[in-house]
Amino acid sequence: MSDLINSPETDFEDPDVPAGPLELPLDAWHRVRGGRMVEFAGYWMPVQYEGIIAEHLWTRTSAGLFDVSHMGQLYISGEGVEAALEAALPIDLATLPLGGVRYSLLLDETGGILDDLMVTRWGTGFYLVVNGATKWDDLAHLREILPDAVTINHLDDSALLALQGPKAAKALAPLVTGEQALESLSFMRGAAFKLGGVDAWISRSGYTGEDGFEISIPAESAAAVADLIAGQADVKPIGLGARDSLRLEAGLPLYGHDMTADNEPVEAGLSFGINKRRRSEGGFPGADRMIEALMEGPARRRVGLSIEGRMAAREGAVVLLGENPVGVVTSGGFSPSLERPIAMAYVEAAHAVPGTNLFIDVRGRKLNATIVPMPFVPHRYHRKGAA
């Protein structure tokens, strides 16, 4: 059974990434704490510490500390930066306040998704967080499409941590000082703080469906900050394995799997991030195809599948209506919270309706599956106006 054990975890490979996995600022920190290191997106990263299910459930009930320093952090500034970014992304920046965070997509000319990303308005420019596996391609793409007056700084001397879970705010608040109280940040808002004396940009956001924070800090302070946060009673370090199972339960797509350059935003279920003004005005790469998909409806849709039994369906498994293939699984696995397998799949639009009973072919076995609304596990974000 050596196929999994002796092979790297990831299918991401990028010709621009130097050969062999690189070490991130917290490499030694993870190893000392028993993190099992695997290659992911060109880096050594911890896939788990005590076990994926235990770490997953800990994050759902307490607070989990994730190292996501493999992700690309970019600062984009210069004359005309706002108009230039609106021409590059289907994002509405006019309504994005200082410190506001918005989800967006990097699209190619035909509307295919090149990456998904977070955009934050800083004082004089915009802070972007992009996927680790795609960051080199993203940088090249942005350099090509943004005008010369706009400068892209790759903040590769910054680390990125995420603290996620219902006890995240309680654990982090005593450690930070700033012009505003940490608790006053609502979901998708960020601000500058001091965290143990270190300059930190903290936003209330994440990739687990839980309340929580993403914390950008200088790489040289990463270990000290991680020590400080992990030293809180309700906090444990969490690996990439649980990060994946948590985001799957939260219905959040993973780039390279649940969306690729072969998918446009409407079929991927991601057109929510593209508001009325941008839909009507267009003026971004792939606008025509996306607007067409909005008007006419996409041919297929990303859906959630709840699976009977305990056998998981993985990426690539064919979805059947009776005997006929109508889709393909893009992510799947055992849900630790629900204690049954769940999956995301693209299914022909005519059948992509909640309640539809389908089969998934897993190694010749037909598993019973039902389309269900996502998220599989309710989001518990700290939304503005909520208690």
């Binding site: 059974m1 999994l4 788990q48 076990g51 994926i52 994946d244 993985r314 055992f334 630790p336 190694r363």
Partner: protein, 123 residues
């Protein structure tokens, strides 16, 4: 009873022409939380190196190969409700299937416990 090991991290314990097969403790520790085990059917005829069982962890599904040729006599039915036994007792109650041996000579290709320990230490 002699116990042998494969480079693919299966163990096989032999008693006469019957044997019990499982994955090693090292294998379960690498796979992480096991959530489902697909077991072979009794009566199934297997060749050495054939995929006989699939162990599903939270991360991925992994094939388990027959260490030797023979015929499956039973799958470990307890694992249907308690797949986590493979994590907690991989080399004992968490066995996967029992089989008869077609050719005891095939055991000569396998490692003994000391050789397997040395092999794992190199990984």
């Amino acid at each position: 009873m002699p116990r042998y090991f494969t480079k693919d991290h299966e163990w096989i314990e032999v008693e006469g022409d019957a044997a019990t097969v499982g994955i090693t403790d090292y294998a379960q520790s690498q796979l992480g939380d096991i959530t489902f085990v697909e077991l072979p059917q009794a009566g199934a005829s297997v060749g050495k190196g054939d995929s006989c069982s699939v162990v599903d962890s939270v991360k991925a599904a992994s094939d388990v190969y027959a260490p030797v040729s023979g015929s499956v006599t039973e799958g470990n039915a307890v694992l249907e409700d308690q797949p986590e036994l493979v994590n907690t007792a991989a080399e004992a109650e968490g066995w996967l299937w029992r089989m008869t041996l077609a050719d005891a000579g095939e055991l000569a290709d396998l490692m003994d416990e000391d050789a397997y320990k040395a092999y794992v230490a190199e990984l």
